[in-house]
Symmetry: C2
Subunit: 317 residues, 2 copies
């Protein structure tokens, strides 16, 4: 039996899993990414967790360490520290891990890791062309074309979250205005609610929350209760996403588009207006053919499984 | 030595070439697509031209017949007649050719054929990720990712010309409004000129042409002479194209974007505002890195070479 250690680095939590080649997560660890005071203490905590996960294994059965991270450069094996992460600048993750452990180390963008998980162990099994969108704090994307992950010339591809919706629109973390993820993500949904609160006058319990208090769950709950503002926020989100999916679909003609991440739990509140929009607005050729599916793996599971799969399934090049 | 017969089906002309494996076009024929009264006479003309091209060859040295056509279904080997073509409905091109000739027959979308030509014999040689846009009457696209053509689940991918610019915008041949090709193509450029003639009051020789008289060459000429309206039309075109290229680039991170087709001959009148726009508006990560190149193969050459390459370079699956 072969195993891999899988690490999913997020702004809030860093999750580790011991994954079997069959896609079972046999053991887990979790770190609070923000708990570490500096880069050194973060890596000490990561090493300790990795050692715990592998302590009882014959080292020969460990295929390697797979790391999914935002802003990582797959070819160089580095992670660029973002505002959300404890470390700053370009950190040579692969090198640091390889100096500490005897195993191969592979890095992949977090959303691409999730797409690989979907491909090898989830709903994308057997598909040669699909797109996975992770709707969380931001919007991540992973694309599989002709049975291979789209990584781009320098491992920087798949930034669908930064497709342009409106160049004079909402300020994005990337420094520009109007990127898709400022509308279509948990944060985007909240911003849409606040825009609706400003523009409309309908009474809604959502008027009782400050911007900092309000989170996606409040909006989900209000929508489930039939709140007009919350439902409208989902429709607006679905239409903006639908327009961009229509472009993407016409380019890639995928077998399916998977949604994962927190916002995908909205289910039909999002899916129904999205499907309606696509049926009305996509290139006629594709009408009624677009399959938008909720990922059966959770976003975190998918990323852990996908990062591990890098060690089990070497590229065929 | 191996040869292929290559057929590039267009609304105006159908071009045929005898192509060597080295990418030389050794002989050519051309039919006026509209000259044929019906499907039967069109195929008789195609067969005759194919027979002329292969008459002097040992049939064993003919690797097959490659056909590039708009609206073709690569898997089924059919071409769907469009308003521009003499035949109507779904025509089983592969079957018809295979019944008449002893050679394998492969079909590919015209713009994908051009991308394959670029990949095997043009500027895309050695690249694993690039995009080719053919700017002619419409906007065609061919995408190579991880060294393979993007065909989609049913051979219908690569419809970048129908990316949405403005859902309330210009009527498109596809029945929707606001598709990219209604702005970025020879026809789109002309429509932009007419919009500017309506909105602005500047004197320009372009006011002396009816819509039916005006063609892209008049606009090229006026722009080269410094005409403000013509130059503005190029800038508008470049900005709309730039916005869509920025989305596409962030998704694919290609090594280069090639422009071919009639409008690419505008050279710097298009390239300069396009590059400026991209430097200012693309995701910061990619600033200054986008390479937009004019294809060195002509659009027709590329399509003929690419369709032929289907016979020489079998997919590795």
């Amino acid at each position: 039996m072969e195993f891999a250690v899988s690490i999913d680095i997020g702004g809030t939590f860093t999750k580790l899993g011991l994954v079997s080649k069959l896609g079972e997560i046999l053991d887990r660890r979790q770190l609070d990414t923000q708990d570490s005071r500096d880069e050194d203490s973060y890596f000490r905590a990561l090493f300790k967790a990795t050692e715990e996960l592998t302590a009882h294994l014959d080292p020969k059965t460990v295929a390697g360490i797979g790391i999914g991270a935002p802003g990582c450069n797959e070819r160089d094996g580095t992670v660029e520290g973002t505002a959300n992460l404890i470390f700053k600048g370009v950190v040579p993750f692969r090198k640091i891990f390889q100096e500490h452990f005897p195993w191969p180390v592979r890095l992949v963008k977090d959303s691409s890791a999730a797409a690989l998980g979907e491909f090898h162990y989830g709903g994308g099994k057997g598909m040669r062309n699909f797109i996975l969108l992770t709707l969380g704090t931001g919007l991540g994307s992973g694309v599989v074309i002709n049975g291979q992950l789209v990584t781009g010339q320098n491992g920087l591809a798949s930034e669908f979250g930064h497709a342009m919706v409106d160049p004079r629109g909402r300020l994005c973390g990337c420094g520009r205005r109007g990127c898709l993820e400022t509308y279509v993500s948990a944060t985007g949904l909240k911003r849409t609610v606040f825009q609706l609160l400003a523009e409309e006058t309908a009474a809604t319990p959502l008027r009782d929350y400050s911007f900092n208090q309000l989170d996606a769950h409040h909006i989900f709950e209000a929508a489930r209760g039939g709140d007009a503002v919350a439902l409208q926020a989902f429709r607006t989100t679905a239409h903006i996403l639908g327009a961009k999916i229509a472009d993407l679909y016409a380019l890639v003609e995928p077998e399916a588009i998977f949604l994962s991440g927190g916002m995908s739990h909205a289910g039909d509140m999002l899916l129904q207006p999205l499907t309606e929009y696509l049926d009305q607005n996509i290139l006629h050729l594709f009408r009624g053919k677009v399959k938008v599916l909720i990922s059966k793996l959770g976003g975190n599971e998918a990323a852990l499984l996908g990062a591990a799969s890098l060690l089990f399934n070497q590229p065929k090049e």
